[in-house]
């Protein structure tokens, strides 16, 4: 493989980037677009730098990240535990499932104002929203992960006279982790959306808060900067979770380079 082919994934977008910037400049020149609707690329860059130097960008990034991580962590735990209980105990499933389906089909984001009224403008309300958004898909996937374990795996444990705890540890837990790890990308994406929407509705800090602040003060640069930072966070989290997934699920990894 040539160097080009090896790094094609990186080289092509990097080539496109300056072209996009030039088009942007050009569009503002030609169309006479006023500064308050779309800033020049250079001005935006300067404002992004000053957001870091004077505008406490790190504080906002950190707030949003904290909401995402705390919410995703707790949400996954809740989804996992309740999903497992539902899969193992029929009565629990029969009792809870109808409610799950109702809540699952309703747009959970619509509860954001409620959470902010209940829990205030701090990190708690946003983390709660993230927990809500993350835990439901995990719960439903955990139920189906446990249900789809082949009967013979349980038979094997029975023949070996394994106890309940060993069945959990050696069979059910690994299959749950498989589900969890392959769902982590989706969960993080939804977590970002949950945190940002929560912040937009009511917060004192965070990138979603910057979005609202920007739109209330007609500060287009602030809005764009928040969008840029959010995309960057999204990309980094995506890459990290992809790495974790590849590493932890080594035993099922298909070498994708063969396809790409």
């Amino acid at each position: 493989m040539s160097t080009y082919q090896k790094h094609r994934k990186v080289i092509l977008p990097v080539l496109l980037f300056p072209i996009l910037i030039l088009l942007w400049e050009f569009y503002i020149k030609i169309g006479n677009v006023p500064n308050y609707l779309l800033p020049r690329p250079y001005d935006l860059f300067v404002s992004l730098i000053s957001l870091f130097t004077k505008g406490h960008a790190m504080k906002h990034i950190w707030t949003t990240l904290k909401e995402i991580f705390v919410g995703t962590g707790i949400g996954m735990m809740i989804g996992l535990v309740f999903g497992y209980l539902m899969a193992k105990i029929r009565i629990v499933e029969k009792m809870i499932m109808p409610f799950i389906i109702i809540v699952q089909t309703a747009p959970k984001i619509s509860l954001a104002p409620l959470f902010i009224l209940w829990m205030g403008l701090g990190i708690e309300s946003k983390a709660a929203l993230v927990i809500l958004v993350v835990s439901f898909p995990i719960l439903i996937n955990e139920v189906s992960a446990i249900r789809s374990i082949e009967e013979d795996a349980y038979h094997l444990m029975k023949v070996l006279k394994g106890n309940r705890w060993q069945v959990f540890w050696y069979i059910e837990l690994p299959y749950s982790l498989e589900m969890l790890l392959s769902g982590i990308k989706l969960a993080l994406t939804q977590a970002i959306t949950g945190a940002v929407i929560g912040e937009m509705i009511g917060a004192k800090a965070g990138l979603g808060y910057l979005l609202t602040l920007g739109s209330e003060t007609y500060d287009i640069k602030m809005i764009l900067n928040a969008v840029i930072l959010l995309s960057f966070i999204g990309l980094v989290l995506y890459l990290i979770s992809e790495r974790i997934e590849k590493k932890a699920l080594y035993w099922k990894a298909v070498d994708q380079r063969v396809i790409g």
Partner: protein, 249 residues
């Protein structure tokens, strides 16, 4: 042979699967069968006649509806080779084969050495660290057989372990299985679809009939041991196969 002690005795066994919508399925009806210590028996019969059900009941994986089963081993230790291997995908070949020792907390030096010898015997030594997804069907069967042999169970139940393999590989593994069997003195109950395989391996072939699942005939196979490729050329081998084909229909 006739003098040997019984290992498993089944009396008047019935198995009925309840069905909410249709009539109940009578999977097994009036099964009477004694299997001797160290004996190799095969169970053969048309699809759906209850071979797997019978094996699972003997293995304690399925409840019986009527009748009794007695085992000579008070602890009821047994090995089970499932039709589709059931390897844990995140464990490599050796870890999968070692799994029973881990579960039963018997990872003694002696057992580990025995395991390595078995892996060697099964031709899996070089693949010790390979993952299940990297193995061929035949290798997976071998791993699951080694796993069932890795701990001391006097009774080995095998449900079409070579069902998915080509005839050549199957013949080869049959010979390996007989070698292991003669070294370990285990009692083996072996379910198969292949008449040749049943005749080649067994002391007795149990022919089952369907609807309801029952024993049609038990055919003793009087071929000399040890058996190898040449045993298949024995005229008696062909006769047994012809006879069994006739009664199975």
């Amino acid at each position: 042979m006739g003098q040997k002690e019984n290992d498993v005795v089944i009396r008047d066994l019935d198995k009925i699967y309840g069905n909410l919508l249709k009539e109940d399925t009578v999977a097994l009806k009036g099964i009477n069968l004694s299997i001797k210590k160290g004996e190799f028996v095969s169970i053969i019969g048309p699809s759906g006649c209850g071979k797997s059900t019978l094996l699972k009941i003997i293995g304690g994986l399925e409840k019986l509806s009527a009748g009794t089963i007695e085992y000579s081993d008070p602890e009821n230790r047994l090995g089970f080779v499932f039709q589709d291997s059931v390897l844990l995908p995140w464990k490599n070949v050796r870890e999968n084969a070692e799994f029973p020792l881990v579960i039963q907390k018997k990872q003694t030096k002696e057992n580990e050495e025995k395991l390595d010898a078995l892996l060697d015997l099964a031709g899996l030594k070089e693949f010790s660290s390979a993952l299940p997804r990297e193995l061929s069907g035949g290798m997976k069967s071998r791993v699951s057989i080694v796993r069932a042999l890795s701990y001391d169970a006097p009774l080995l139940l095998m449900d079409e372990p070579f069902g998915a393999l080509d005839a050549l590989t199957r013949d080869h593994l049959n010979i390996e299985l007989l070698k292991i069997w003669s070294k370990t003195n285990k009692t083996i109950i072996f379910v198969t679809h292949s008449i040749e395989e049943a005749v080649f391996l067994s002391d007795r072939v149990i022919v089952m009939a369907t609807r309801p699942g029952r024993i049609r005939e038990i055919v003793p196979i009087d071929l000399t041991r040890p058996r190898d490729e040449d045993s298949r050329n024995d005229s008696k081998f062909g006769e047994y196969c012809r006879y069994l084909r006739e009664i199975i229909g």
